[in-house]
């Protein structure tokens, strides 16, 4: 087995093995260390001997032994070991992993995304433990140093242990709040990957992990609408990635993207998830957000008119459920297309400018509306305010070009 193949085996087994160990030993750090040890053993053993027929089962059994050894070394835990842990016997050919390893990934995800864990660490911890990414890979995706990321992960694991975060699927009373925390975590992590419109290497890989993670969530919570809606959203957004930036590295707005460059297979997958979500519950905000994506992705070519009226109707419905600034701004973009720039502008100017002073999307939308309304000087000032607050190069270039249109339409 090649190095890359080994990596893949480890990564695929990570969530299930760490989850099962964490649920059994109630110790995240111990579970992670034991799994690392099993991987290290595999790296020594497999190339020289035959690779086991069921690598995950092998890894799990070795990891359980490593965890037990770890506990024995920590004599404070001695009592617990004696009471509750059966001996694990060496087996020539382990049983099949599906029967051997209990699927505790959902518990693991709920622990990693507990609202008491800092928001910065939640996605990182999920990617590390559920998706098996290395600390270095996660550090690159979040644009921090490996040391910083390692510290962040260690702190989060310490908090989970010290604060007594339960290794359980949350009780009914907490269910929706906690599912929300999980979905928020993934949404924020994905948005971070998506922020960089050009999506250079590490970000593209990271987005791939988000596809995997949302797929797992749907499998693990089949009766919930919102995980399916999130799985749909991530796929719609990923499908459009090839069209988000033009050949010169400029951001291309959604309404100007060539649908023929979108990835059809991802859109089909997204629509399947969305159908499933709507069938469970058509009302949650995330389901409506996914429907907005679907409206855009139903476009076949640039000759077809953009679906603005449908998008506006969906934003009206969304605003009713989630009244926040981003939803309002996006709705006004649609209002401008359906009811005219003046109407959108009057709504925009009624928003609290002081509160939105450093909010780039506000200035970007405002600049665009002012430019189209012919308010030259005000538009130029708004573009400057937007440029001062945006860091993504593709978006900056696009805004700079739009700003030039103020002077030479």
């Amino acid at each position: 087995m090649s190095g890359a193949a080994l990596e893949r085996v480890f990564r695929e087994a990570s969530g299930r093995i760490v989850g099962a160990l964490a649920a059994r030993f109630r110790d995240l750090a111990l579970a992670e260390d034991a799994f690392s040890e099993a991987c290290a053993r595999a790296l020594e053993d497999w190339p020289s001997k035959a690779v086991p027929t069921d690598p995950a089962a092998w890894l799990y059994q070795v990891a359980v032994r490593a965890a037990l050894d770890g506990l024995r070394r920590h004599r404070t835990q001695e009592q617990f070991v004696m009471q509750s842990l059966p001996e694990v016997h060496e087996q020539a050919e382990p049983e099949h992993d599906d029967e051997l390893i209990p699927d505790e990934r959902l518990r693991l995800i709920f622990i990693c995304c507990h609202p008491a864990v800092s928001i910065d660490a939640r996605a990182a911890l999920t990617l590390r433990l559920v998706c098996g990414l290395t600390t270095l890979e996660i550090a690159r995706a979040f644009l921090v140093s490996e040391t910083t990321m390692a510290q962040r992960l260690t702190r989060a694991k310490g908090k989970i242990a010290d604060a007594g975060i339960p290794f359980e699927v949350p009780a009914v009373a907490f269910w929706s709040e906690r599912v929300d925390a999980v979905l928020d975590t993934i949404e924020i992590a994905y948005a971070k990957a998506h922020e960089d419109a050009a999506a250079s290497g590490t970000h593209a890989h990271f987005a791939g992990e988000m596809l995997f993670l949302t797929q797992i969530l749907v499998q693990l919570m089949p009766a919930e609408a919102e995980p399916a809606a999130l799985a749909a959203m991530v796929r719609f957004a990923e499908a459009r990635r090839p069209a988000r930036v033009d050949t010169e590295g400029l951001m291309v707005p959604l309404s100007e993207q060539d649908p023929r460059r979108w990835q059809r297979s991802l859109i089909d997958e997204a629509n399947d998830y969305l159908t499933r979500a709507v069938a469970i519950d058509p009302n949650p905000a995330r389901v409506i957000q996914a429907q907005i994506h679907a409206a855009w992705c139903s476009r076949d070519n640039l000759e077809e008119p953009p679906p603005w009226p449908q998008v506006l109707a969906l934003y009206d419905a969304l605003l009713f459920r989630r009244d926040d600034t981003i939803v309002r701004l996006n709705r006004l973009v649609a209002v401008a297309e359906v009811h005219g720039v003046e109407s959108a502008l009057s709504h925009l100017e009624a928003m609290d400018r002081e509160l939105l002073r450093d909010f780039a999307p506000y200035h970007a939308v405002r600049a665009d509306l002012l430019r189209r309304a012919g308010c030259r000087d005000e538009a130029l000032r708004a573009y400057d305010a937007a440029l001062a607050a945006i860091s993504s190069p593709a978006e900056r270039q696009w805004l700079t070009r739009q700003k030039c249109l103020v002077v030479v339409p």
Binding site: H114, A116, D162, A163, G164, I165, P166, E168, P170, A171, A173, F174
Partner: protein, 115 residues
Amino acid sequence: MQYALLIYEDESIFGPGKAGPKLQQVVGRHHEFVKELGAQRVGGAGLKATSSATTVRTTRGKQILHDGPFAETKEQLGGFYLIEAPDLDAAIAIAKKVPLLEDGAIEIRPVLSPG
């Protein structure tokens, strides 16, 4: 596990020296809450106003006494509960029910080496 629930409120809402009728109001609600907690409550107390606080500050072995709380903040520690709860989720559920007269915050802190 044992957790301390630390109650932070702007004490000025209770009037000077925390002696106004509003204090009676919230104390009444705490009595109700204590009944509801039953055996989950291990201990706790309300604290007098920070104007009554004295702080002993130790710096490099030298101790200095000063009048007032250890830090001037918008919201002050006004009391605490010590509770027994199986895990953080259970402690959060209890913390959400701690009476507050107006705005405020409950900090949940696991206790070192639970008894």
